[in-house]
């Protein structure tokens, strides 16, 4: 079956090349712009992630255009809202690739949506940027995943908090692929650092009553809780944890708390003392970042949402792609990929972001921070972290013609662990 599938992809890329012919003519006619499409949820349950991502994408494109555009052309950005619904992801992906003939598509929040549209972009030979932090493992020649992956953040966070708080760790995680894989990495690094993993518990994404678990944590008496909880409903965990007085006795560390700006959805006293790890935080104290935050707030007002990693990376992802186009001197897929893999880097709000050519992921800075008064105090900065997890399975330099998602069924199935 695997063979058949590959064959299908080959045949389809052949057809795509044929079909691209009229496309090229069409493109030549409207050659005065470069086409970029963004497909991100701006309504439905995922809009807490999607809306800030769209805001920063728009901002990046406007800035690039204001600075004279790319290769002397303006970027024509189209944004589609799939409304947290997978059928609209494929609908808009096909539209972007086959009708808009996009030069690049920045799209996708959940891994499910990314996998659904990645096949379409492969088929139509469309360059694809995925700017969300995720479980890692995508290995695809025409896809670039710029977000952080668990090995990058968890690897730093776990030893730090174990040193600070103790060796007994209790893991709570969202019951889906990302939660499971993140929990696996946490377990690994706890073991590697000589700690003890007391228990791991998984929660469906729509559960918002955590009472019994909090009692279990009280019974287990760990030194710290590692959270890989995700989404609006899971915000309840931190609140109920604090309500039971636990936040003062057993601290929480997380690599997921904050991607949906959870730290503003709970009060200061509930969140104080939590430690997180991300590759971007709004509080990063560099001139580039301060300037970026200032421009963002000027554009979207003082009530603008907190800029989290997803939002910042969407901005940086657009610039990273633009660097690739500049270097290639064209928007041709092969040329841009070649240019990006040289590798291209971009000094953005999060620091230096560089393409890792073997995996098409990003080498990036990782920041450890403590939450105080709904704001993060940065504790540690780890420069230029490699996407170590994806590197274990993926080498696009050796084997360029790949389009796989190695961690589709967890780390064990991928031969790690």
């Amino acid at each position: 079956m695997k063979l058949d599938r590959r064959r299908f992809l080959q045949t389809t890329s052949a057809t795509a090349a044929v079909m691209a012919a009229p496309g090229i003519i069409g493109r030549a006619a409207a050659d005065d712009t470069i086409k970029m499409v963004s497909i991100l949820d701006q309504s439905g349950g995922l809009d807490i992630y999607g809306k800030p991502m769209v805001d920063t994408t728009v901002m990046a494109v406007e800035e690039i255009n204001a600075a004279g555009g790319l290769l002397g052309k303006q970027i024509d950005l189209k944004t589609y809202d799939p409304q947290s619904n997978i059928q609209f992801y494929t609908q808009f992906a096909t539209q972007a690739a086959a009708s808009d003939k996009a030069d690049v598509v920045h799209a996708g929040i959940t891994s499910a949506s990314r996998e659904a549209i990645r096949a379409t972009f492969n088929r139509f030979r469309t360059l694809y940027f995925y700017n969300t932090l995720y479980e890692g493992g995508v290995c695809d020649r025409s896809t670039y995943c710029t977000g952080s992956t668990p090995a990058q953040t968890v690897e730093k966070l776990v030893p730090y908090v174990m040193k600070k708080w103790g060796k007994k760790v209790y893991i709570v995680a969202a019951d889906y692929n990302y939660g499971h894989i993140t929990a696996d990495w946490v377990e690994k690094y706890v073991r590697d650092n000589g700690g003890e993993n007391v228990a791991t518990e998984f929660f469906p994404l729509d559960v918002n009553n955590f009472g019994t678990t909090i009692k279990k944590i009280q019974a287990a008496k760990p030194d710290l809780v590692m959270s890989a909880l995700v989404g609006g409903a899971h915000v309840a965990f931190y609140r109920q944890y604090a309500a039971a007085g636990m936040n003062n006795s057993i601290p929480i560390a997380s690599t997921t708390f904050g991607v949906g700006n959870e730290h503003t959805l709970i009060s200061a006293e509930e969140g104080n003392g939590m430690i997180v790890a991300y590759s971007y935080l709004q509080e990063i104290d560099t001139p580039t970042n301060k300037d970026f935050v200032g421009r963002f707030q000027a554009k979207y007002g003082a009530d603008a949402p907190y800029i989290n990693e997803l939002a910042a990376r969407s901005y940086e992802g657009a610039y990273l792609w633009a660097e690739g186009v500049k270097k290639a001197g064209s928007t041709d897929l092969a040329a841009v990929i070649e240019a990006l893999d040289t590798p291209v880097s971009y000094n953005g709000p999060s620091g230096k972001l560089e393409v890792e050519p073997k995996t098409h992921h990003a080498v990036q800075n990782v920041y450890l921070a403590e939450l105080q008064g709904q704001k993060y105090n940065i504790l540690e900065t780890y420069e230029q972290q490699q996407p170590a997890d994806t590197l274990l399975v993926c080498d696009l330099v050796k084997e360029p013609n790949q389009s796989k998602f190695y961690f589709e069924n967890g780390l064990e199935a991928a031969g790690i662990k």
Binding site: I86, F88, A98, R123, E408, N409
Partner: protein, 355 residues
Amino acid sequence: MIRSRETRWSLFAAAVGVVFLFAAPQVFELFTIINLTTVLALAILALSLALVWGYGGILCFGQTMFFGLGAYAYTIAAINIGETTAPIFIAIFVAAAFAAILGYFIFYGRVSDVYLAVITLTVTLIFYSLLRSTSGPEYKIGNALLGGFNGVTSPPLNIPGDPSNVLYPEDMFYVAMAALILAYLFCVWLTQTHFGRVMVAIRENELRAELLGYDIRLYKLALFAIGGGIAGMAGVLFANGIGRVTPDIFNLYNTALTIIWVIVGGRGTLIGPVLGAIALFYLTSGLGTQASINNNLVLGIILIVFVLLVPRGILPGVIGIWDRAQSRSKLLRSEKRMRRRRAPRRPEQEAANDG
């Protein structure tokens, strides 16, 4: 006895479908044709609920469960078998068989009405909860890993007997459109049979149907299973349209949406819900290309205005306007005829009827 008008219109609708089948690829852009597979899959799902609910009166709030089961069964079977012809039938069978089992559980327990709605909804949500937590490697059926929340990649259909010869997404349109036309004609035929009439009778009055000697439990179960099978087939097409199956198929939003399509299209018709599903899909996706106003807001307002202005759904609304003009004159004629015949013989009855 045979409702000739309905038959005529149904055949007309099917003919329009056939014309569309051949004309669409010439008229529309490639991406529209590719996306139509998904839209048509949803339309067939709407058709299955139109049959089960609109004709059979069974308010199934979980029609997507059979749709999802079909999609998953197809994908898992295709991964294991290495070709896709048998998996199509496996998918339809699995969906229909599960509907039959659930139907036995429901109808032989005399569960009906809103209670039935909740049972079907709940079973759907059970699938949703369970499938989301199958991300580990231990959850596999044969060679197919279930993939949890992220779902499984679905192999594309191949030409029967030639597993290496897979269909392009744009070719899938022909399969999906043909499936819709055939499923529609099958449903039309079914409603014209004795079985179909009894189903309508059961919808109208369960007790009377029983008193005539019809085992309504069995009839409902049969209709439920048929509807499940059709939904399962739609699931196969959906898996092909998206290229992937995910547990989201089973979520509350999607299962409620199926109900909404049928209401918008009009209950008691078969083509109405099909149009309802297509219309709402394109309305929603059309809204998704703009970003100035929140999509939920616009869609919600449209639905509310719709329910106030077109209370019976699109198709019955149109038919109603058409009929009122037609039947008014007809009624007048038949009343005159009746009066002529009866008046001399039974004047007192006329009086009684008037009173």
